[in-house]
Chain length 730, copies 2
């Protein structure tokens, strides 16, 4: 009870058994303990550093290992992102034709190598041959068109088949966008292998294949996953991060920022994305390190220069035309449209995914992917806007027309008085069709068993829409409005509706354009979009997928609104048998084992006595089993009749009794408690802020029950009229 | 004990007595309770909204009141900042001369009005007369110089005298930068009047005077204070924010972002500044709203257009010259210099402020200000770089030379082969002197009894230094490096060393230049600067001032490193008398009053009985006194002999006994508890994350003691070998 005695006993560094203090798969970590463990480790290093120079160096290297790790994560993610971009570009072009100089050149590179291209048509050169030319010798006529069409479909099917097969064979975790799972992992859940090396390798390869196959998916979500895999693997180089789940999650938060940074070339936006969207525990130190890693990654990517323009970003835009206050009305309209689309998309996608989970559809993932890929290719090829890759289309729509521009969308600019040319109308029709098509196919694609991102498809959908709208405005001629701006605002609104991002979205868009001028339109649209979408359902696509999968994720943004008390949520319920507790002395090893085996709880409170129910501590099931098992093997005389003792001083036992088993070392002497009268909103707040996985409930100083994260989630599901058993795992 | 009974009893909305649940001045709020109170309020409104249309409208208006408030804060702060800029510009020019067309025109405006100025010398026109011209009729010669000199000093003295007198007479809280106090307030402390209307009015006026007087101070900190005052005053328009200290602090966090946004024209940087530097509780909702308010303010300021260039920012820079990898070395050197300067500045400034507090110097604030103002003016006038205002100097140093530039610094550019002209050497000498002078005078100025900011002086100091450095590089000729970039990086390093800001600083600088290109140099310098400065002492200038003033501020960034247990820190200490507790029944009103009067604790635990020490709840002293007082006045038969009852059901009393006083309503039924074995780092974490002001300590289910925020701060001071009694207030 007084200062010095117990502090020795609770020292967590005192010969811990292997396994004690670790977690099982699909379990939730205890943030408070993990952070406390790290502080203990840090304290030890600091204390030692005063003793010798070696220890001092160790202490310094320990302090800088975080920065070194960030540097490595940034370099590796940037390099991987660059590789993915180059490979995807090459494979996408391969769907259209092949380079005669060497098949490993993409279209642009091939023509650039040939040295014959003029500035006017730099994407046409004899060295690059479409499949029709190669096979039939001509690129004209219906037959050539059909040959090209078929080859396009063939490659799309091949790529998607490879992608889905690789995922299924080697790394089932590599499918999907990964962001819902990463959010869950960052909130403290353990999914072993989700960020492992196989997932990394397979995800990188299949992402390239999936993007090249022409499926309506983006690489942003998967890039976040890839960056997190890199971070997780690199964590193994540093004891500090390998052994501590909380510290590792700090690194993963930074890696999420890195992923967005390389996807968009927006380091600040990436950091805010991580802060706003995916992270759970994000101390200021992490903010600064994330920013560093995001910058390193962005510059690594730039030096690889996958887009050949030494720009950081995928679709760099530079227009500085001012916008007028009147234009806020259409921007808000775009926001409303974006919000509606977002709400609709989430509903449709979740309904489709649920169908996939519950019906026989889910048994044939390969066939599903092939059918969707075939359908996509079949419908996409005839329309030049859906045929080109997402990034190309976006950059075409983003940019204002210049005189050199050969795009059909700029048809109206080629004559001086600028009447809308026939080409423009065709283009707009095609865009409208592309919009409808992309919208529908994306609903089905997102959630398939291939790596799939959401950003670009959502943005695409909207770009098209905008371009369609601006027709009515600009056909009278003159620079009345900037179509590219509308495309951008529409994209933001649409993405905002789907993901419910706010600040990070605006900042990413701001970094894409590099001008403060357009923040207000972007903000107006994003804000409207979020409000409109929230009116139809408060959760974004990632939260919806988390719920669909039943992950134990306690949303930090949502307030707990119901007026229940902790006593209503805790276990045991009124009709249940009493709480399973251990007493601090008087129980035998056999009794303890029987208790543990007869229940499935992951931990047991320790009380002074069954009568008083005064709480002493808390023991985790896993630690208890490991310790008893170990004691039975190693420790002389520990048998089923041995007493289990949690007190500070061993009680006096009869001379002939077996020696007691002292387990105070594995007991948590500072379990969290709340009273039964605590309003649930406060309890939920405590769970969220401290990252607890369980909390004991007391009444007037007596132990009454226990409340876990899962209990809270089940209670919340019940309140929202959902099935409480949809919450899986612990 | 079961669901329904107690929930009625703890309903905080059930006829609360006026005063119950409020706080006294210089006390710390309880974040958990405040937020819980707001959730109760929100729940009530939501429930009612289902009943009638009026209630529904009320609910909608309640939901949008936050946004409306943000809009108002943005508009008001933007307008005030614009007014301050215009007024300060006018008064600063007045130190040099007067406009003959009307004394209310500033120099530039005057010449612009006169229509005679050519492009070449737009700042010279007959309508603007220096004081010498006006008085002696000539602007040439030593006599005229002396007249101008004396008038300069006269105005400086007048302005500073007015500033210090106004502050002393009407609003003592208006002095200083205000950021340390705002940090403390945001962490949950109450300082009544610190953000009141008088402070706002006086701070606005005196800020203009102080800046115009030429004192070495900036307006950034005070602008944050002004914005927070606006927010606090506007909060009174909305019940939701007026009545809830936690909600109001959300608004104040946003206002801090607004302040930086208008000071630099950097809305994103402002939000990150608020997040990183000043805020304590910053939920994501606040992030988004802060961003909105910061944007509104920035655009309001722009539409007022105080700088006459329709730019958002004080010193807009546009240069896009690339930097070379080799240049990272000088950038890191700048960072080291910045860090050293930061550490030195903090030490010197704190030493000076402590001297002011402890010696007789503090008794003569007016004389101190006048002496410093006179000294500043006396020394500043002969040097043209110190004579001009901070903002002017910065923009001169920031910008690259163009052919039209008449600045002496650009002397070397006016001949084709670019040898360094004589003018350049003079300029560099003057700059070097200005650097030394500014550095010394700022140490004394910051902390005087006038509104004073730190940003610009710190930045200034460094700009000068840089310009001095680049001399060696660029005199050989050619565009080898960009001097403006060096100035900017140096400024960032210097500010980083003083304030220890990181991300927000880089982002502010990024917004000033609008180019991603320079993020890496800025980051390198800021990072180095922070590391170097941290090596000399971990706290920034604001934290140092918080500690100097003894505010109860629990730094959220710093980890608690010591290995003490809660039992070592809690009260009562081993030698102290036992903890003062109330029992849930059996005490009379008289006994309770005697206990309250004999102690000075701000709250008392309620236990089942003195013997069992089983905890039931916690009662605040203030609530207890108000309730007993009220009961004695209003309630029939409550006398000193009446029993005080905290139980759910009133005990049976003898027929002749006075009726019992039931006080369960004011008891907190869910006090926070930790066990005595909880390591202090966990306890500190709980205090920080949940924003507690006290926590009860138990041992094996029995109440053992209490630990407050002040106890923790005192303990931390003790560990750091500082005087624990330097922590004032509760």
């Amino acid at each position: 009870m007084n200062g010095n005695g117990p502090s020795k006993l609770v020292d967590p560094l005192e010969d811990p058994l292997p396994g004690v203090g670790t977690y099982e798969d699909f379990n939730t970590i205890d943030w408070v303990r993990e952070k406390s463990k790290d502080r203990d480790r840090h304290r030890e290093i600091t204390n030692k550093s005063r003793q010798s120079t070696v220890a001092l160096l160790h202490s310094v290297s320990d302090a800088f290992s975080g920065w070194l790790l960030m540097l490595l994560v940034g370099l590796m993610s940037g390099a991987l992102a660059g590789g993915i971009d180059i490979a995807a570009h090459w494979l996408t072009d391969m769907k259209g034709g092949v380079c005669l100089i060497g098949f490993w050149f993409n279209h642009e590179h091939c023509c650039w190598k040939s040295n014959e291209a003029t500035f006017q048509d730099r994407d046409r050169c004899p060295q690059w041959q479409s499949w029709a030319e190669l096979i039939t010798g001509t690129s004209e006529g219906a037959f050539a068109y059909i040959v090209n069409y078929l080859m396009y479909i063939f490659w799309a099917l091949l790529f998607s088949f490879l992608a889905v097969t690789l995922v299924r064979a080697f790394a089932p975790y590599a499918c999907g966008s990964g962001i819902p799972e990463i959010k869950t992992i960052l909130s403290g859940f353990i999914i072993r292998g989700y960020l492992g090396k196989w997932t990394l390798i397979i995800k990188t390869i299949t992402l390239v294949l999936a993007v090249s196959s022409g499926l309506s998916l983006g690489k942003e979500g998967p890039l976040v996953h890839v960056a997190c895999c890199c971070a997780n693997i690199l964590c193994h180089l540093f004891t500090k991060y390998r052994k501590n789940e909380a510290k590792r999650r700090e690194v993963l938060s930074a890696a999420a920022a890195v992923g967005v940074s390389v996807a968009f070339g927006a380091p600040i936006g990436g950091v805010l994305f991580s802060l706003e969207e995916v992270s759970y525990y994000f101390p200021l130190k992490t903010l600064w390190r994330s920013f560093f890693a995001a910058l390193v990654a962005a510059f690594t990517l730039r030096s690889i220069n996958p887009f050949g323009n030494s720009r950081l970003v995928l679709f760099y835009v530079e227009f500085h035309a001012p916008w007028h206050l009147v234009e806020l009305a259409p921007f808000v309209l775009l926001g409303i449209f974006g919000g509606l689309w977002g709400a609709l998309f989430i509903r449709a996608n979740i309904a489709w995914c649920r169908r996939r989970k519950t019906t026989r559809l889910g048994h044939y993932p390969v066939i599903e992917v092939l059918v969707v890929a075939a359908l996509t290719a079949l419908l996409a090829y005839p329309n030049s806007y859906t045929r080109m890759s997402g990034a190309e289309l976006i950059s075409e729509l983003f940019n204002d027309c210049s005189l050199l521009d050969s795009s059909q969308l700029c048809g109206y600019k080629q004559v001086t008085d600028r009447p809308a040319g026939a080409g423009l109308y065709t283009a707009l029709w095609q865009l409208a069709l592309a919009l409808v098509f992309k919208m529908m196919i994306t609903v089905i694609t997102f959630g398939m068993k291939v790596p799939s991102g959401l950003f670009i498809p959502s943005m695409l959908a909207y770009y098209n829409h905008d371009s369609f709208i601006f027709k009515g405005w600009c056909s009278p001629g003159a620079d009345c409005i900037t179509p590219g701006l509308y495309a951008m605002v529409g994209a933001a609104a649409c993405l905002g509706g789907v993901t419910r991002m706010t600040v990070s979205l605006v900042v990413i868009m701001f970094e894409l354009t590099g001008g403060l001028e357009y923040i207000v339109p972007l903000m107006a649209a994003t804000m409207t979009s979020k409000w409109v979408a929230d009116a139809f359902g408060r959760e974004g696509i990632y939260e919806a997928h988390i719920r669909l999968n039943g992950y134990p994720f306690l949303e930090p943004k949502e307030e707990f609104e119901h007026s229940s008390l902790t006593v209503d949520v805790m276990r045991p319920k009124r009709s249940d048998p009493a709480l399973a507790v251990l007493t601090q002395e008087g129980m035998t090893v056999g009794q303890v084992e029987a208790l543990v085996e007869s229940t499935h709880y992951s931990g047991f409170p320790v009380v002074v006595s069954q009568e008083s129910q005064r709480l002493v501590g808390f023991v985790l099931r896993r630690d208890l089993l490991i310790s008893i098992d170990n004691a039975r093997k190693r420790q002389e005389g520990v048998v089923s009749a041995s007493q289990v003792v949690f007190t500070e001083h061993a009680p006096s036992v009869a001379a002939d009794a077996p020696p007691p088993l002292r387990l105070r070392g594995i007991m948590d002497l500072s379990p969290f408690t709340v009273t039964d009268h605590t309003p649930m909103d406060i309890t939920v707040d405590i769970f969220r802020k401290l990252g607890l996985r369980q909390c004991l409930v007391t009444h007037n100083g007596r132990l009454l029950g226990i409340i876990t994260k899962k209990d809270i989630l089940k209670h919340m599901a019940q309140i929202a009229n959902r099935d409480p058993d949809s919450i899986l795992f612990n």
